[in-house]
Symmetry: none
Subunit: 218 residues, 2 copies
DNA sequence: GAAATCGGTTAAGAAAGTGTTAAGAATTAG
DNA sequence: CTAATTCTTAACACTTTCTTAACCGATTTC
C-alpha cells in the first residue's frame, strides 16, 4: 500500500489525520518536526507528504524546498494568500487550510497519488537491487562488483526502468563521473555490465533499442 | 508558450481569467460550452484546462470524465464538498471556488504544469497507443516492433491525427533521425509500418491522401 | 485513350548500429 | 613509484535498418 508521511507537531491533529488515513488503508509514517521528516525521507520509501508549515526545528517552507520527486500537500493554519502561493511555487503540489474536510483531504491525496503513479521511481528491478548507501548492486542477493562508471550507467537505467534511455541522454547523465565517454565507450561498458550479470544469471537485464539506446528488459 | 483552455460561459469571468493568463504570457484558447471544449481538445494542443462546472450543453463533470492526460483545474461557484470531492475523484487535478484569488490561481496553474512535465506522455488513436518513454507502439495492447524511422513517422502522424501531413512536411519532421530519406524511402517505410500493423489487426490506420501525403484514418 | 504520375510492394545491396575482444592510456591505490 | 584497476580506442564479425530501384496497378492529365 501507499505510504504517507505526516509531518505535524500538534498531537491532536496528527492523530486525527493518522486515523483518517489508516481507515483508508494507507501506511502512515509519523514525524513531528521538519528535521525528523527529512531524516525519514532519506531512509524510507514515501509516496506522499502531508506537511504542516509551523514546525519546530526546520519549518515547513524549508522542508518543501528540500523535497524532490515526492508530492507534498500542505495542511496549514496559515490562511494568508502569500503563504499559500509561496508554498505552491516552491514545490508543494496542493494546499489545504485548517480546519480541513476529511473527504476533501482524501480526494486530494488520491489526486496526487494518481498523478505520481506515472513518475514513481525505485531502484529495484526484477531480481536486481541497487543499494545507494553501499554503492552496490545485487542480483538474487549476490553482489556484483561494478566500476563507478558501470554503476552510474546501471543506476540511470534503473531510475528509468521500463523506459528507453537514449545513448546521448545516458552519456549526459553519467558525465559527472566520466569526462570523455563516448558511444563507443558506452557500448563497451554495457557489454562489461552484461558479462558481470551473466556470471550470476542467464536472465537478460539490459535491452538494446536499435538506434536509440538502452532500457531494462521487460 | 504553454496553452491553456478556458471553459467558462460567463463572459465577465471568462475575460477576467483570460486577461490574467495573457499577462503571464500564456496562450489562451477560449471555449464557452462543454461541447466546444471537447471539440477544441480534439483538434488543438492544450497543456491545461480551466473548467467551470455549470456549462450549457455538456456540463463540467462530463467534460472531466472525457479528458485524458491533460491537467484540469476546476473553477466553480459550487462550494459544496460533494461537488469538490466528486470532481477531484473523477479526474480533476485541483478545485478552486469562486471568487478566486488571482495569485492563487496562477500558483496552482504553475503546480499543474510543473507536474505534467514529468508525466509519461502517450499518444493515443483508436486502438493504437504510442508510449514516448518506452519508445514503443501498442495496438490492442500488443506491442509492435518499429525501427526508429518508422517510429518517428508514426509519432508525427499521431501528433497530427485527423490532419493530413504532407510528404515534404513529414520528411522535414523526421529529418533529425534520418539524413537522406526521400519520398521513395518514405513510401517504403509507410508500407513496412502498415505491414506490421496488419500482423495484428485488419483495421486500417494510415490513409494516403492522393498527391498530398498521409493521415491517420477516420 | 495514351502518357505521365502516383502509390504500394518487393528484394537486394549499402549503410549504420551492435557485441565482443584486446591492447594501450589514464587513473587510482598502496 | 609501482602495481592494479579502470577507461578508451580500435578492430572485427555480425545484425538490423535504410535506400535504391524495379514492377505493377490506379489515378490523373493532356
Amino acid at each position: 500500500m501507499k505510504s504517507i508521511l505526516i509531518v505535524e507537531d500538534d498531537m491532536y491533529i496528527h492523530n486525527l489525520i493518522k486515523e483518517i488515513l489508516e481507515n483508508e488503508k494507507y501506511t502512515v509514517i509519523d514525524s513531528y518536526s521538519g528535521t525528523e521528516a527529512l531524516r525519514v525521507l532519506d531512509k524510507e520509501k514515501v509516496d506522499l507528504v502531508l506537511l504542516d508549515l509551523m514546525l519546530p526545528g526546520l519549518n515547513g517552507e524549508e522542508v518543501i524546498k528540500r523535497v524532490k520527486d515526492i508530492p507534498i500537500i500542505v495542511i496549514s493554519a496559515k490562511v494568508s494568500m502569500d503563504s499559500k502561493v509561496q508554498a505552491l511555487l516552491n514545490g508543494a503540489n496542493d494546499y489545504l487550510t485548517k480546519p480541513f474536510n476529511k473527504d476533501e483531504l482524501l480526494a486530494r491525496i488520491k489526486v496526487q497519488l494518481r498523478i505520481s503513479k506515472n513518475v514513481n521511481k525505485k531502484l529495484e528491478y526484477k531480481d536486481m537491487i541497487l543499494d545507494e548507501d553501499k554503492h552496490t548492486v545485487y542480483i538474487k542477493n549476490k553482489s556484483i562488483s561494478l566500476t563507478k562508471t558501470e554503476y552510474a550507467i546501471l543506476k540511470q537505467l534503473l531510475l528509468n526502468a521500463e523506459q528507453v534511455v537514449t545513448k546521448s541522454r545516458l552519456l549526459e547523465l553519467i558525465s559527472d563521473y566520466t569526462l570523455d565517454c563516448d558511444e563507443n565507450s558506452l557500448k563497451v561498458h554495457i557489454s562489461n555490465i552484461r558479462r558481470k550479470i551473466r556470471n550470476i544469471t542467464d536472465e537478460e537485464y539490459i535491452e538494446s533499442v536499435w538506434g536509440i539506446g538502452f532500457k531494462m528488459c521487460n
